[in-house]
Amino acid sequence: MHLMWFTERQYHYDPEEEPGRSDLLEKQILRNRSFFGLPNQNFDAETGSMLLNQYIDEKVYSEDLGFDGLMLNEHHGTPFCLGSVMDVEAAVLARATKRAKIVLLGNPVPTVANALRLAEELAMIDLLSKGRLVPGWVRGAGSEQLANNANPALNREYFEEGVDFIIKAWTTPGPFRYEGKHFHFRFVNPWVLPLQKPHPPIWIPGLVSPDTVIWCAKKRFPYIALATQLEPTVELWNLYTDQAAREGYQAGPENFGYLQPIFVGDNQARAEELGKRFLYGGAFAHFARPEWMFPPGYNSKEATRRLARLAAGANLPGKPITDVIGQESDEEIEALRQGVYATYAKTRDQLQMIAGTPDYVIPRIRKVLEVLRPGIFSFWLDGPVGAKDRMRCLELLGKEVMPAVRAMGKELGLVDPFQRKPGSVPLAAGRTAERVAHAESLAASVG
């Protein structure tokens, strides 16, 4: 089993040290109904510098604790994530760490105008890290298209062509000319090529878009579900497994990964209090306003049809919430905040956040593993929590939770992509594929 550590590297203030600033920032995000687009006059460079360094320190420490992978991601124009150019952090980690994989989930290919430059950046990171890079690709959230002026109507075309091109640039002897639909290069001959051959292993993260899941199965790329609800995730695993069968292979745990929001502390009540901060500012629900999440043409026709059915609901694209923005009283914002935190019990009960002592979290992680059976598993901590509590969380994860999870992985046969190459188990035509996820375990009680 491949165990990773992840954080969005949020811009925040320590609620214990700077309660006023922390509170004000949260209210601004709530008032904006979106992390994305919060005016950058609210960015304090001193704080940003401190946090970015702190997040690098955490990654280095997590390697010391024995994590297998250091997972990074990228978002633009938002306090939700300070990693606006993730490859820069990856380059730092390439030199600051020695053993762990540097897992990029993922580079938003459609927003990068020059895919050849991306191929070169990643090759350099692979060389500097001595072959520890695991690149991944994403379409980028809708808001990233606006932040980078990438045409959302062409997003999937850019994504698929860009990924194919990067692999081609790494594996086809140059120089060669490339005339694609959206990318055109008259001289492809990157001198700096990845250390791993034929190219670094590629993993793809996602939020259960069926199109992406099927694409991954065709390409034999492991698919990492980003903290999605368990039941739809099982359905998507099945979709992947069925597509894999059509491609002639049996999918296994090595084809799947899962990102689990978590907070571990020494005291149950305190850990839950800190875990609850995961919902700060509306959490993922306020990642960006609907009209920024779904810019024109970003969604497939099917996804648009689903949204159309919801369009009459609150906070969805058919209903312009822009009308209320900036008009609400402090009391209304406070009520909104209370409403956000009131969802915590549901979040906890659905295992969308597991917060507590090691004894509390271990059986709950087991339940997730029994249902989804992923070969890749990443712990995710976010929300405004001070550096000391974050480091203690990491320590407890590394010293107490991780050994237990490793033992479970062994017991449940959760092989990872380094133990068994994804797509390497042939499945004879006409044979029914075995399901990887265990939907029947969903109903079982924890412990």
Partner: protein, 264 residues
């Protein structure tokens, strides 16, 4: 009077592609090029003009009813496609009214083929970069906000609720998203203008042209009108007070009178 129910839907083939055209009224043909949110419905001005004219409204590929044409990737591609339809139907020269993106489309078509149109009415056309202000970005706001911003004061426009049949049904939500996606393919960058258009219009277009603009247009700033006038010799500018981006519904009586008088 030709009511909404009299509008017929015709399916045409243009090369390998399809084109759905709405046809209403009777008399000499009049081409109507719709805006970026799609076909907004059969309004009072359509009813009145269709008493003496056959109004032809092609629904652009990708805007819902007409399937997407994969190769159409900019406004000039779309204009050339529609010009082929007009030629093949033996309609040229034809009078045209274009609204917003449709006005830009008409201007591109005229620049490409000066014999296509007999008379042009361009209603708050996009297509030329306004010297003052920017064209409002439809891609960062919901369709309904863009629609509301297109009039000076939605509450005082009698026909506002008729636009896009109220704009709130599931089907209309999908239609708006289709229109927005196709507009993104056509006009993402530079947004809603073509830097070469003023140069291509200059000395080319001979068709008598009427520009209609609301003085309070928040979508396409009226400052662009001067560039259109400079580029199209003899173009007359009709400016309407207390009016936004939709003179045809905000000031429909005056719009109808002026357009009828201009088209003859």
């Amino acid at each position: 009077m030709a009511g909404k129910d009299s509008v017929r839907e015709e399916n045409h083939s243009v090369g390998a592609e399809q084109l759905v055209v709405l046809k209403g009224g009777s008399g000499k043909p009049l081409l109507v090029l719709h805006e970026e949110l799609g076909y907004p419905s059969w309004m009072k001005w359509n009813e009145t003009l269709s008493e003496r004219r056959t109004i032809l409204t092609p629904l652009y590929p990708g805007f819902g009813r007409t399937p997407r044409a994969e190769w159409i990737s900019n406004i000039r591609d779309l204009g050339s496609f529609l010009a082929r339809f007009i030629r093949e139907q033996g309609l040229a020269p034809i009078d045209v009214i274009g609204f917003s993106l449709g006005g830009w489309l008409a201007a591109e078509m005229a620049a490409g083929d000066p014999n296509l149109f007999s008379k042009m009415v361009l209603v708050a056309p996009a297509g030329i970069r306004p010297p003052e202000g920017d064209i409002m970005d439809m891609f960062t706001v919901p369709a309904l906000v863009y629609l509301r911003e297109s009039v000076r004061d939605a509450g005082s426009v009698t026909e506002y609720a008729k636009l896009y049949d109220g704009g709130v049904s599931e089907a209309q939500y999908e239609a708006f998203e289709d229109a927005r996606a196709e507009t993104a393919r056509l006009a993402w960058q530079p947004y809603m203008f073509n830097p070469s258009l003023p140069h291509l219009l200059e000395g080319t277009v001979k068709s008598p042209t009427l520009l209609v603009w609301g003085r309070d247009d928040r979508v396409v700033p009226i400052s662009a009108a001067a560039i259109f006038q400079k580029s199209i010799k003899g173009a007359r500018l009709l400016t309407l007070d207390q009016c936004g981006h939709r003179p045809e519904v905000e000031k429909s009586d005056q719009f109808i009178k002026e357009v009828q008088s201009f088209l003859g």
